[in-house]
């Protein structure tokens, strides 16, 4: 996946501006941090929420770091919309075809931080009386467990491979398909995440930036895992 998502207008900048940014990068003293834009052109603002919760603390931390001081590769529009997602919560209203699984449950393209290990968090469904969890690889059942723990870590999965999972509760069921990113695509994501990890921002700000990277890469389950953690103050 090409590394082109610094910002939507970055591609048309002359080379000397990019050089200036790189010089700024060195002056900033923090690997990966660049002063991307003037405040006037920066759409990202992180107004503290009215409620006294973890989001308010995060807003204060993000406000300390200039909103336009972006981690390289994080589009500023993503930061703005991501903040709205964090504060607004999940999508609302409507008649949905399926009952959705908890936000952040592996579904679709998925980046495994440890390469081949993924994590299911069903703690929000415990009141549903979870009865059975099945993980399959095509027609082959890899895991069939009952009762279902709140959190299930699964190791030894194959990158680039598609998996299907099913979860049964007392009355309802959930299911999903996910595919672990193949190593080549995952390498670029890893590099972007490493730049965030290397910065000196508070951990919650780093998490927010990581969610922006996942959002940009179309890794929505990974993004939602982080947003859920941030909402819960973790």
């Amino acid at each position: 996946m090409p590394f082109t998502s610094f910002s939507s207008d970055a591609a048309i900048r002359p080379v000397w501006i990019r050089l200036a940014i790189l010089i700024g990068l060195g002056l900033a003293g923090e690997p990966g941090l660049v002063l991307a834009d003037t405040p006037a052109s920066c759409p990202a603002s992180f107004a503290p929420t009215a409620s006294r919760d973890s989001k308010q603390a995060l807003a204060a931390q993000l406000a300390k770091a200039p909103p336009c001081q972006l981690i390289q590769g994080v589009p500023k529009t993503s930061l703005a919309s991501l903040w709205q997602m964090l504060t607004n919560g999940e999508s609302t209203g409507g008649k949905r075809f399926d009952t959705p699984p908890p936000a952040g449950t592996p579904d679709g393209s998925y980046y495994a931080p440890q390469g081949t290990t993924i994590r299911f968090d069903f703690s929000s469904l415990q009141a549903q009386g979870l009865q059975r969890f099945v993980l399959a690889d095509g027609g082959r059942v890899l895991m069939n467990i009952s009762p279902v723990p709140s959190v299930q870590q699964i190791a030894g999965l194959r990158p680039g491979h598609a998996y299907h999972w099913k979860l049964g509760g007392r009355h309802s069921s959930w299911h999903g398909d996910f595919q672990l990113m193949d190593p080549e695509d995952a390498r670029e994501v890893t590099q972007r995440l490493q730049r965030i990890t290397a910065s000196s921002q508070p951990e919650s700000v780093k998490q927010f930036y990581r969610a922006a990277v996942f959002d940009d890469e179309g890794l929505y389950a990974n993004r939602d895992q982080i947003l859920t953690q941030l909402r819960n103050g973790q």
Binding site: T92, G94, R96, F97, Q131, G169
Partner: protein, 401 residues
């Protein structure tokens, strides 16, 4: 008047009919009572009744949805940005129903065979239905045909079952909900956006072709930055799809069925009915709550009884709608896949895309404490029938669509 609040909705409905009656005079009569009439004049767009006037005050949200894309429209937008379809929608007359059962608040047994793909819309039909019902109750009371009934109570309960929310209000509700989700909308400009919207619009076009051109709505489709292959619909013609449903691994059959299912919710006015029911039920629920609290507000059992009462009136409402939308989607699938072999294969694919059938699962009961509380928290729109129930309904429809 014993419960003034309980009559609020009925009063608003009746008030809304006065200007609609004037509009009726400007409307050419359809040759078929089930078909929409077309307004002879659209110079008075504000004459839609009280509810439309109310919604006009919040209509500014039209301008808060940057980048709205109408995938397929039946007519071009006017220079002021409004859509001609809106001015046609409100002239739908709708049939007059002979209401025979008004009990159970908004609880309703929906037609799970989807005999009519597009639910009739129109305040005039509702007015006629209510007038007919009022006459029947008055006759009953006058000639002692049956037990004495309160006309006000019967009419207010019946009003919860009729389609009286104007189409512009439906669209505004949909846009307001979409605005809440707008940060989730995938931009059309990116790599994934270009692919996903091309697939989404192709799917919508196919489903619309099968549904025919008599729909009172113009449909807009949005792709959400969500994993999974879910789809959802908002009142007034807005369909949202998860990006995985129409992304690189697009399965046209699965996407078709899900879009058809969501379009059916819109054409059957399912969520709109839920909003109408909430408005109507809230009036009666407030009265019920006062009644319960005046008896014994300190006891938990009393509050639970009230919660159970609310939940029991709404659970079947949502579950039945899902089955009906499935049935309508099967009808649309049958039009798309006319060849029996292809149709059977397509339905097999659809079935395998549903959630797992639960072995040993217990049927949902309305007295289950967890179920009651969760349904109240999540609202009346989220209850889905189990996969076993859905499969049975789908198979019955597939045998005789």
């Amino acid at each position: 008047m014993k419960h003034p609040a309980r009559l609020l909705v009925c009063g608003c409905l009746l008030l809304s009919l006065l200007p609609a009656a004037r509009l009726m005079a400007q409307t050419t009569s359809p040759s078929d009572p089930g078909q929409p009439a077309v307004a002879a004049s659209t110079e008075h767009p504000g004459h839609f009744g009280l509810f439309h006037s109310m919604w006009k005050h919040v209509k500014k949200i039209d301008h808060l949805l940057p980048g709205e894309h109408v995938a397929t429209t039946s007519a071009a937008a006017t220079p002021d940005g409004s859509h001609p379809a809106d001015s046609i929608q409100i002239t739908h007359v709708g049939p007059i129903e002979d209401i025979t059962n008004t009990g159970g608040l908004s609880e309703e047994i929906v037609d799970q065979k989807c005999k009519v793909l597009i639910a009739p819309v129109g305040t005039m039909g509702s007015a006629g239905s209510l007038a007919l019902l009022t006459g029947k109750v008055a006759l009953n009371n006058r000639f002692h045909i049956g037990p004495h009934m309160s006309i006000a109570t019967v009419v207010e309960e019946a009003s919860a079952r009729l389609n009286w929310l104007p189409a512009p209000a439906e669209r505004d509700i949909g846009k307001a909900l979409l605005k809440h989700n707008q940060d989730m909308v995938l931009p059309r400009t990116g790599r994934l956006g270009r692919i996903a919207y091309a697939h989404a619009e192709q799917t919508l076009k196919d489903v619309q072709m099968a549904a025919g051109d008599t729909s009172p709505y113009h449909f807009s489709i949005y792709v959400l930055k969500e994993s999974g292959k879910n789809a959802s619909s908002l009142p007034g013609g807005i369909i949202e799809l998860d990006s995985d449903l129409v992304g690189r691994d697009w399965d046209p059959t699965i996407a078709y069925f899900r879009v058809a299912h969501e379009m059916s919710h819109i054409l059957q006015r399912h969520e709109t009915e839920s909003y109408q029911a909430l408005l109507a039920d809230s009036a009666t629920s407030i009265a019920s709550l006062k009644d319960i609290m005046s008896r014994d507000p300190s006891q938990f059992k009393t509050i639970f009884a009230y919660a159970h009462h609310l939940q029991s009136t709404r659970l079947d409402f949502s579950g039945g709608q899902e089955l009906q939308a499935d049935a309508c989607a099967v009808r649309l699938m049958h039009k798309q896949y006319a060849d029996p072999v292809r149709f059977t294969q397509a339905m097999t694919d659809v079935e395998s895309s549903l959630g797992p059938v639960l072995d040993g699962a217990v049927p949902e009961t309305k007295t289950d404490m967890v179920t009651v509380v969760q349904s109240l928290i999540h609202g009346p729109y989220e209850r889905h029938p189990g996969t076993r129930e859905r499969l049975a309904n789908l198979r019955a429809m597939a045998v005789a669509p």
